[in-house]
Symmetry: C2
Subunit: 337 residues, 2 copies
Amino acid sequence: MVSIKDVAAEAGVSVATVSRVLNSHPSVSPDARARVLAAVETLGYRPNAVARSLRTDQTRTLGLVISDVLNPYFTELARSVEEAARALGYSVIIGNADERPDLQDHHVRTLLDRRIDGLLVSPTDGGSPLMLEAARAGTPMVFVDRWIAGVDVPVVRADGREAVRDLVRHLHGLGHRRLAIIAGPAATTTGSERVEAFREALREHGLPLPEELIGQGDFQAASGRRVTEAFLALPEPPDVVFAADNLMALGALDAIRARGLRVPQDIGLAAFDDIPWFVHTDPPITAIAQPTGELGRAAVRALVDRIEGRPPESVTLPARLVVRRSCGEQSPENSPA
Amino acid sequence: MVSIKDVAAEAGVSVATVSRVLNSHPSVSPDARARVLAAVETLGYRPNAVARSLRTDQTRTLGLVISDVLNPYFTELARSVEEAARALGYSVIIGNADERPDLQDHHVRTLLDRRIDGLLVSPTDGGSPLMLEAARAGTPMVFVDRWIAGVDVPVVRADGREAVRDLVRHLHGLGHRRLAIIAGPAATTTGSERVEAFREALREHGLPLPEELIGQGDFQAASGRRVTEAFLALPEPPDVVFAADNLMALGALDAIRARGLRVPQDIGLAAFDDIPWFVHTDPPITAIAQPTGELGRAAVRALVDRIEGRPPESVTLPARLVVRRSCGEQSPENSPA
DNA sequence: ATCCTCCGTGTAATCGATTCCACGAGAGGT
DNA sequence: ACCTCTCGTGGAATCGATTACACGGAGGAT
């Protein structure tokens, strides 16, 4: 591999000068600059990012640890994060935790070992010692989507409270009264918050949320299936099932189908997180859409602010309800006048 | 940040000894080893991967450049690649090319600058000079899914020829005669191969593949929509549309829906690449499934073989047809006796 | 007792960059 | 004509690891 020394030799200058040209330092003569550039060209020289990082103590790399790449929501988030980071001259290394705390720790550790400049995390659990320690030690860090309470780290997320309220109003308007939820792990903020928002919205309509209508899922399709089967086996099954993420909604659809039931005639279904496929499922699924792209961009902005010494800002964006047909059609008597 | 020097000081030994302990070099006394380990523990020392890479000239990192992360097929591929790499002690940096040659080049360049140990590529186009140059220069490289002809690089991919033949037989058995295809970019191997396989399979049944039934797509949903609209506007529209990837199938479904037509009654739909969502679309979509996980594992195996000096192997795995309902139901008279 | 090995350890070179500091040349002021 | 200042440049230290080499001491062989 050709190094800066080779370039220096070829151009007849010192390595210092080559470095100066490459970093567009002002005090280099036009002549030297030209010779260096020519040498770079003929040798096909590319600076070694590893060496540069060692010296400058910055990698211009961001780490992104997400809970599950196979979840389209996170895929899209990852994509927008990469895009935003690239625009600011940063690369992104993605670590997929697969909803497993041990894997999450593995990635955080590797990322830290690689001396990434900052970390974007969507924690799978309440927070491993490793991550808390890193945050305390001053690693620039931003939580995205999910967060951990009691840590002084900016959070970029969507607030679904209002959208959940809209959803419940929609369901109530459709005549549904017995509403169930497939919750995410209580250790995740999104897991507990969505249940809370749901419960609160129900209360506003004077509806209860009994224990048997709260199913404990883990944001994976299989758990959605399992919980839904339990709902359906109830003496009095729910009118509608609200899944706290899109994968569990998929599992719920499976379970409903397996029972030979139809959506929405026999039971309604709604999901948190909207994805392109929901338009094409049978039936199209009513969902709460997060501004994923904006979330990714805001997270990168906050992290880079933090890295470059500017005060980072926590950001909360509203989610919104997208009504489709999976909870029943608007009939004349309950449509808005 | 605590460095190896701090550990050496704390343990009362030289940095060489610390390094030896950390790399489990045999000649270290039990006493010294214990003291070093203790020091590592109390200081919370973690070796700087950047420095180590500079010295050893290996990063234990693989680069993966894929055409489109949002495509579930590639997401799954990326996931299996990461998994397999992790098992072998490698990290993976993913570069998303978004089907854009310039972005692909950007990622290849950054990855090379970071001195990744090897590169896994699914080229968006016929091959940029940059990539060919890297291959020639000896960068360990393996093509996955798509490849570039005339380059001495192992290829790990699925062969869909047989599955396409099965598909056409299935369609023919259902009475469909006018079959159309939404092709991928001709510059990609998967783009041209799938059309070829389709054409050949049609020939076996004495069916033609006229120009007007070959639509040019780019593996993105929008192009599937556009091409399908054109098909539907034909004086004699096709009986079935076969999309060369799942995203274009999604677009096709959109277009068909927008025309107010029903699948499969008015027109059939099939896709290359099977994904979980196809089970839940309306109707469930008949597709050709690739052994994605196995593909990812084989690709990593080949690349790591190449990196570690063993002869790498090209691998071709069979794809298989998964029949669902999007091309029509099996009716009594054409069901297998 | 002497010599040779081998083992554990430390010193220092090295990887490829960046950057501080010193130095010489030329310009400009007096 | 001399001093000063600026500018372009090179030498060398530095980042944090790994590793070749040297060295001293212990143990075994003769």
